[in-house]
Symmetry: C2
Subunit: 432 residues, 2 copies
């Protein structure tokens, strides 16, 4: 017998038929003798409807119009959480009923019933503790625990939510608290791929990927898991299996063991026997480039650029400062999220006098392409190989950033697919 946490996302519980399908996956594991907890998201689209009601109640749009486009919602996060958490409450009850209708013992658990405790940062609360004694005892007696994801209870007995995609984090935190053997994340794709299969048809599913690589993949644009849930899994050593709820639930009565060869296991790198130098190629098109022309090449100027951006809550990613032509002036280029570009330009225009620059340019026609792999640590020359291959295809690199297990390049958006395909081949990831 194993102790499993299964998590189903919004598309996997989008209607009662999909919930029935999720239940058949649970039944397979229960029939195999495993003790199961199931974490559910809200039905796809439901959370957006609830958020729209909250914004309507607060008169969000009217306020934006009154006070200018930069006014953000100031509404009471604890009321937002009370409204929005109801989506997961509904799916947890429905799944429990479906499981019961299939002859299983099951009950729903809201965040406050477990309790899954969080801090008071409503709308994006952090988990501070999960009390699983009663829940676990019932699981071990054969009752399936159906847990409403995304929600918890904050100090003062108020409902809290963990922020968008928080159900992944709920599942991993629950798995950690239960010392579960595995946390299965059922989603609409069948695992983590070497790159986006829509761009590279030869992309293939990875059987295993290390936490560190998954973290880089997630933050570099692969959307299969929330970054936060991967961090937590790494910290707590939770083995996470990303798999498809759209695959048939019937594995010929083989239960969990047949899961070998299904999905992608996110685990410690020691578990991965054959490690490629590069495990995957990620790309992101949602960054924008900002260039400040001819700024003074003197100590302190970078602070004058980046402090006002930080104050405006704008995250800066890659930064390149060219070598000075004349010893007195240089060009500074960096990237921000596309959504923040207009605000970033506004902030820099206001700070023009204190910074001192000739011209300011912004562009969204860029893409960031990254090669990721823990094997890089022990293999020299990966970056050089990468740059040569891109140069051979005539792709100009506008900026570079690296970590121990990742090399990212900023290029013209028009070349994004070509770059991804080139690197996918270069590092031997094309499926055989």
């Amino acid at each position: 017998m194993a102790l499993l946490v299964l998590k189903f996302g919004g598309t996997s519980v989008a209607d009662v038929d999909r919930i029935r399908n999720a239940a058949s996956h649970v039944k397979r594991e229960v029939d195999a003798g495993h003790a199961c907890a199931v974490v559910v998201s809200a039905m796809a689209g439901h959370t957006n409807q609830l958020v729209a009601l909250v914004e309507q109640a607060w008169g969000f749009k009217e306020r934006r119009k009154q006070n200018g486009a930069e006014v953000s919602a100031q509404y009471d996060g604890s009321e937002y959480d009370a409204v929005v958490s109801s989506g997961e409450q509904v799916t947890s009850g429905l799944l429990a009923l479906v499981l019961q209708s299939l002859g299983m013992r099951a009950r729903s658990w809201q965040g406050w019933q477990i309790p899954l405790k969080t801090d008071s940062a409503h709308r994006a609360a952090r988990i501070t503790g999960v009390a699983v004694d009663e829940l676990k005892a019932r699981m071990l007696e054969g009752e399936v625990a159906v847990v409403a994801g995304f929600q918890g209870i904050a100090p003062g007995n108020r409902i809290s939510t963990l922020g968008r995609g928080g159900s992944d984090t709920s599942a991993v935190a629950l798995a950690a608290a239960l010392s579960a053997d595995r946390c299965d994340i059922y989603t609409d794709v069948d695992g983590v791929y070497t790159t986006d299969p829509r761009v590279v048809p030869k992309a293939h599913r990875l059987d295993k990927i290390s936490y560190e690589e998954m973290l880089e993949m997630a933050s570099q644009g692969a959307k299969v898991l929330q970054t936060r849930s991967v961090e937590l899994a790494m910290q707590k050593g939770v083995r996470v299996l990303v798999r498809s709820s759209f695959e048939p639930a019937d594995l010929g009565g083989k239960g969990t063991d047949a899961a070998e060869g299904l999905g992608t296991l996110v685990c410690h790198e020691d578990e991965i026997v054959e490690q490629n130098v590069v495990s995957g190629i990620a790309y992101a098109r949602d960054e924008a480039k900002v260039t400040l022309l001819k700024i003074a090449d003197k100590p302190g100027v970078a602070a004058q650029v980046f402090c006002p951006l930080a104050e405006a809550n704008i995250n800066v990613d890659m930064i390149v400062q060219n070598v000075s032509d004349d010893g007195r002036h240089t060009d500074l280029t960096f990237t921000v999220q596309s959504a923040d570009l207009d605000r970033a330009l506004e902030v820099l225009r206001k700070a023009k006098e204190s910074i001192g620059y000739l011209d300011l340019r912004g562009s969204t026609d860029i893409a960031k392409v990254s090669a990721i792999g823990v094997g890089m640590r022990s293999h020299a020359g990966v970056a050089a190989q990468m740059f040569s291959a891109l140069a051979e295809k005539g792709i100009n690199i506008e900026a570079i950033s690296t970590s121990e297990i990742k090399i990212s390049v900023l290029i013209d958006a028009a070349y994004a697919e070509l770059a991804v395909r080139t690197l996918h081949s270069l590092f031997g990831l094309d499926s055989r």
Copy 2:
């Protein structure tokens, strides 16, 4: 300063615009200096959607087909409650946000947060206690308590619901626990009428009605308040004001005091100075008549008829047994809810041998018309007046039942409106 409970039903919070309207009623009371708790139902239609999801999840319709029409839902009431209670959770959060957007302090309270404790009879739980210390303290500091109606917490930390229309009961129970000065039930009509104004255009709103009369009105077909909430109000002495949320919230800055002359106050009969003999005429068309022809006129036969009906959970209302023609046989007539007629006939057909009757007849072409008034206690001859007036119009009375403050007659449905109008005039209720 008064302590008020305000309750808004489903049509009064049907969308965010209606919630804003409800909030303006609350604001009027807050501006007048009153401490307010507001109980809300789910948005109109939302509960039905949630119930449909539950039945779909349990495969309710499929089961009925498989096992015949008499199979009723056997699903887990605690999961039903977890799903269905989410409707009130949403409106409570939304109203709190709207109140905040209007500059008031407000917070939502779920049943488990108060806590409003109930027994374990899920889907129709009874309230066992309401702990209002924290809620009341915050109200007295000027915070509006927005309470999700219809829901509570059952032993074992599970969400419970009070049954359809339970929000009225939530409001009255909360008012009792708070020792509130009044419980205002905002609904889509502006009070309790002497009879249905669609039938009698001369019907008028009652300024006051006693608990006992309201109870009879509610159980005789007037749908403005749930019977259970009236019973509780009577038992706890809660003064209930039925009023319209569709009337303008602005009473010229006069606050609650202007409520005199608005709505209908349900109160102890001592508060009612000028008491009519009859306060209202109620009618119901949802009863059906069952007649057993030529049953044996001997001790025990009534038990043989009514015990199997009781076992099948069928409520019997009016019963008439004719005088025996021959000393050995008689006819027995009684009424059941129309929805139960087919089942009642089925039960009686199966019991034909043990009862012994010549023929069995069922009909839904009947109406029950009732005159209600506490004044009857001290006025003789009310029944005689009533029967004469109906006879004058050629209306045949098929059965009669009476209580201390009510006389009901069963008549041919075709004469229902005529009977109501006749009695409304007879007892001086036509508006002057």
